[in-house]
Amino acid sequence: MNKGRIKVALALALVAVLAFVAVGARKTAMKLAQDAAQKVYVPPGEYDEFYAFLSGGFNGQIGVYGLPSGRLLKIIGVFSQNPRNGYGYNPETRPMLMTSHGFIPWDDTHHPELSQTNGVPDGRWLFVNANNTPRIARIGLKYMETEEIIEIPNSAGNHPSSFITENSEYLTAGTRFSVPIPQKDIPIDQYKGNFKGTLSFISIDPKTGKMDVAFQILVPGFDYDLAHCGKGPSHDWCFFTSYNTEEAHTLLEINASQHDKDFIAAVNWKRAEECVKEGKYETWHTPYAHNWFDEKKHMAFSEIKKEEKVIKPDQCPGVVYFIPTPKSPHGVDVSPDGKYILGDGKLSATMAVFSFDKMIKAIKEKKFAGDAYGIPILDFESVLDHYVKNVCLGPLHTESDGKGYAYTSCFISSEVVKWKWSTGEIVDRIPVYYSIGHLMIPGGDSAKPWGKYLLAMNKITKDRYLPTGPELNQSAQLIDITGDKMKLLLDFPTVGEPHYAQALPASMIKDKQARIYNLKENEHPYATKSEKNVKVVRKGHEVHVYMTAIRSHFVPDNIEGVKVGDTVYFHVTNLEQDWDIPHGFAVFGAPTSNNLIMPGETKTLVWKPEKPGVYPFYCTDFCSALHQEMQGYVRVSPADANPPMIWRGGGREGKWIVEQ
């Protein structure tokens, strides 16, 4: 009886304790959530601390986000058309998407990189690579628009790109998918020895940012995956990971995962410069496109270049060495002081930290373990400094916090691992949701990381947000790295598939942002800078409408005289000079996007009407209280008709100008 009572009492006590613990745990969880919420809370009307630039992967764009809030600020069209503003649709920007294969409206953006001075992001430009049709784009950080795109000749799958040297001397490019170089028609099973890769260096003009293909190094047909360039002592070098040193051409999943070690290609770009100076290169003639946007003319231009300097390593000894690296490395990362080089071997649980000094010593002492197609392979033990043991499953990429710690993303085990650069000692780990690819710390791949936050960019989202059918957005998680323990702060979906990102303090570029284009400086050949100057000009079957837009009307807004068979060019200039007053322009039935025209800007919509009728056009941007009235009509007559050629608008009427 007593025993029974005791049991009941004990049971009650246990329930009480459990309830107490549960309430306590819930309170603690709520407290933690509140702490995290406070750290990412940016009150309405206030600004984020960092600009973050996330690539868009298969969406071909760059997403500009604010951190720590995770707010999406802008989508910049880069290698993909952007119907929002007409980028890649209108004749002003279509040349940006020209390649040696013609006009390509899409690509796959991977690795954004900010320009650097003394190894630190300087806020001038952002670069990003296109993986599918090899290209690199330059985005100006004043207008936050794509200003230049250069195609990389003699390459395929431009993945180890666009990583920058310490003073923005060069950007890297490389061949993830080795191919016959130069291209030719050969059976695919003759891959071995016939397929090649190139490691390219794209020069950047320090004043204008203009890019050029400086030189390309012809390398064996492995898959060159990622890169990073040295800093401080390792300034003259860039490092590229490779996998598929097996040179498999089918079922790579198995056939390219046989070797215990693949290679990091260490490239001495100063040596390459010497060889170029000494004429130790071949001039090849593979065509490649070079496109740039003239911000005064509001127009892009495209040229095809046909000359590149190709360095063959056997003709330029000392330009490239291979460092054996545990199994199929993905990222290659350099410590902020430039002393350590890390290969993130994605199929190995142990990472090798190499010493730059030891590498130089091994090269001097010729500690080679053979060669691959004539390129010396350095002796692994001579270059190795220490291991990071049992780091995780699937280490992919590592960044630094500037306090001596490294943070590695682990795809298979879905976590971020914090460890000490100098010893490889693991100090913390935190789960991420799920299957992280790259991670990013503001300035985390530079000589002076700003630290504070870590952004995990995850490949699998699954149950993290409200489900949206089979296709889900990727996710990013913001982690606080200020303390000993990493803390998850925020989780937000991203546009496209960000493969990598860059961030810098907002204060560096916030006040340099352009608000308008100066109308007086508009040198677009079809600009109309005042309503007085509007006109319609017929040149044979071309009709040029010089149109203006201002709140809340277009001039002209009635156009008659267009015939089937004509090509109509609506050159619309936004006369506004006030911040954030764009006007849009769209024509019923025109098989293209709208144009979103910023104040002071001119953009053209090209339309070949196919059927007679009267077609409305209108402003697509809710610009003012009378935005709904911002509309007009264009009349299209049959090809053999003889309609009057007139226009109306702004309370005036005019006749077309007919030129021969």
Binding site: I550, Q577, D578, S624, A625
Partner: protein
């Protein structure tokens, strides 16, 4: 009062000071408008000078077209051509008065200053009234009888409009005050009293 009667040195010095102060009116705006609206938390400023308009005039014009206000341009104001000349006359004449120092010249100059001040302010108010009453009858939004404030703050649609004299006005006012001080110094009774005291 003899024709060539002179005003005391103190009054002449004050007249000279008053005239010299007036030069500053060319370097500062006379009047300032500050417009604030939900979409313009940073505000829109417009400055009226002796001879020009500065600030966000174009933006204000763009906004004004909704209610059919006239477009403000420098060329529509003859005042911008005349006011600098009138001010120049005031300054040169003042310096001349200080030099010759006759009471008659002094009074004429003072009278000119007073008329100039009253005329300018009255013209300014007329211009404001005219601005508010010359609206395009076909404007999208119809308004009647709105006059922008001359001193202080008024609300108009989504805008709060504040108008206050600016540095140039204060400079001219200071010049006028100094001129009045000169008048006190030259006041016949005061002068006579001082003369009597000196015996």
């Amino acid at each position: 009062m003899a024709k060539a009667e002179k005003i005391p040195i103190l009054a002449r010095v004050l007249v000279a000071v008053s005239a010299v102060i007036g030069i500053a009116a060319y370097f500062f705006p006379l009047w300032g408008y500050h417009l604030q609206a939900p979409q313009y938390p940073e505000g829109l400023d417009m400055w009226i000078w002796l001879y020009k308009l500065t600030g966000k005039v174009d933006i204000i014009n763009d906004l004004n077209h909704y209610v059919g206000f006239m477009k403000l341009t420098e060329s529509m104001f003859w005042e911008f051509k005349v006011l600098p000349v009138l001010t120049g006359i005031l300054i040169l004449w003042g310096l001349w008065v200080a030099l010759v120092g006759t009471r008659r010249a002094f009074y004429w100059w003072l009278g000119y200053y007073a008329v100039f001040a009253v005329f300018s302010l009255a013209d300014f108010y007329y211009r404001l009234w005219q601005f508010g009453h010359t609206v395009d009858p076909h404007a999208p939004i119809r308004i009647t009888g709105y006059v922008p404030p001359m001193f202080g703050t008024k609300h108009f649609m989504n805008f709060t409009i504040s108008s206050l004299p600016a540095a140039g006005f204060w400079v001219l006012l200071a010049g006028f005050v100094v001129a009045v001080l000169a008048l006190l110094a030259a006041w016949p009774r005061a002068q006579a009293a001082r003369a009597a005291a000196r015996g």
